[in-house]
Amino acid sequence: MNIQLIRKYWRTILIVAEMNIRQQMTDGFVLFTVLFQPIIIALLGLWMLKDKGPDAAIFVVVGSGLTGLWSSLLFISGNSINFERWTGTLESLVAIPTPFEVIVFGKNLANVTQSLLSMVLGYFVAAFAFGYPMEIQQPWLFIPSVILAVIAFISFGLIIAPIFVMNPGVRAWQNAMEFPIYVMCGFLFPIALLPGWTNPISYLLPPYWAAVALHGTSNGGASLNETLFAWGMMLLFSLIDLLIASRLFAHMLYKARADATLGME
């Protein structure tokens, strides 16, 4: 996957994303993952952090939205290729002239974008159900942070999906990979609470930098330099992830054709 492909196939990406959203809006598992679970976590967080005052509310809203982004990426984007395999459409998608990673990019775009809904819903829950004054402190920095976070998550998802396809053993760990990222990336509490030796691991995770940028710009706790650094890290990881993903997709498709195991688990 590279930038040229995105430029060339942007219409395809948008169509795939649209179709994916339409299809997933009828799936109970997807609805729960992208909407209900983050809202329940937001409610929990708002209750638990109520003694920290209104400032914590925007932190919880952004953090619970990030949990939705990650869960969606892990369970829905992670299985985006396997889903086509289960429904018998994988062979057709691989055979069409459009590069396969473009299709998966579009699917990930849909998953990540629809997950942002949970952040919006969380905002309204905090504002209306709990009566917190909700204000994004640096809106002009927050918006680019959201866009860069979306790109970082999509790129990360492009690595996860082929890894899950090629290594069913890794996919077995899927259920165990959800909450550790919530913890390691500081979605709902600072990673300073964690043992020091875990911090370098956090720095290697793109969702951590998304959390730094989104929390910092929403509650105004980050300086411009800190936000710019987080943006830079998200861009850097996105580029690295896209590069790795293009190799992984090429390897996965070659292996599937050579072994004739495209539709087999």
Partner: protein
């Protein structure tokens, strides 16, 4: 006498076979990921969130609450998949076609999930002691074991009811996930019940886990078994009510499905 021995045989075969069937797709690595590491990670998340929200002094409150909540993994997911899985795998018709005692079939399905659920909670407590500094020096361990067992039984009662709902809906995982996450709020695992609105408190006391978590916290802080006995009786009663509701619902679905010819219609 023969009926009794047949029912005992049915119970054991049902217990063992349903458990084997549930794990026919689950390898040891998946079991480790779903039943040991996922609960541990979830515990870590809520314990850190709770101590960040309040104080590190309240660590035991969150560890005990979330350790007991692990009972819902087997109780809700395991039970509903044990019951509802028959519909997916096309064996529901055979169950309805046998003259087997439905109650014994139900009890057999629950048994292994209760053991597995209780084991999950014990593992969570071990994590709590080893990794999170939970102090059990004032704890009456046999009494805590009884709390764990009763709480797991009552949670499986709710799971049985969920399993019956799985027989009439395709969105089983939606319902299971929803109930599991709602329990994180309503059971008092992470929020003191007194802090919740009155209407939520009213619902909480109609749910499994709530009294069990309260009892476990009391035991860990040094209470005796007699002090928490009313809570345990309450927890057991709630669980039994759900078992009975699940059983009755199953009977209703059986009659309805046979009459309408919708046994395996999704």
């Amino acid at each position: 006498m023969k009926t009794i021995s047949n029912n005992i045989r049915l119970f054991w075969q049902g217990a063992i076979l349903s458990y084997v069937a549930l794990f026919h797709w689950m390898r040891p690595i998946q079991y480790t990921a779903s039943k040991i590491l996922m609960p541990l990670a979830q515990m870590f998340f809520f314990v850190y969130l709770g101590t960040y929200a309040t104080s590190a002094d309240n660590r035991a409150f969150y560890i005990v609450g979330n350790a007991l909540q692990i009972a819902a993994v087997s109780g809700i997911y395991g039970m509903s998949m044990s019951i509802g899985g028959d519909r997916d795998s096309g064996t529901l018709g055979y169950i309805f076609g046998t003259p087997a005692n439905r109650l014994v079939v139900f009890m057999g399905r629950s048994f292994m999930n209760i053991l597995d659920g209780a084991l999950g909670v014990v593992i969570a407590f071990i994590w709590g002691v080893l990794l999170m500094g939970l102090d059990l020096s004032h704890t009456n361990i046999p009494a805590l074991a009884l709390v764990i067992l009763i709480t797991t039984i009552s949670t499986c009662g709710l799971g049985l009811l969920m399993g019956c709902l799985a027989l009439i809906t395709v969105n089983v995982m939606f319902i299971n996930n929803f109930v599991y996450f709602v329990l994180l709020i309503f059971s008092g695992a992470n929020i003191p019940l007194a802090d919740l609105p009155k209407w939520i408190q009213a619902i909480s006391f109609g749910l499994p886990l709530t009294r069990g978590i309260t009892a476990a916290r009391s035991i860990v802080s040094g209470a005796s078994l007699s002090e928490i006995a009313p809570l345990l009786w309450g927890e057991l009663t709630v669980g039994l009510i759900y078992f009975v509701l699940g059983y009755l619902l199953f009977a209703v679905f059986e009659v309805t499905a046979k009459r309408r010819g919708t046994l395996e219609v999704f």
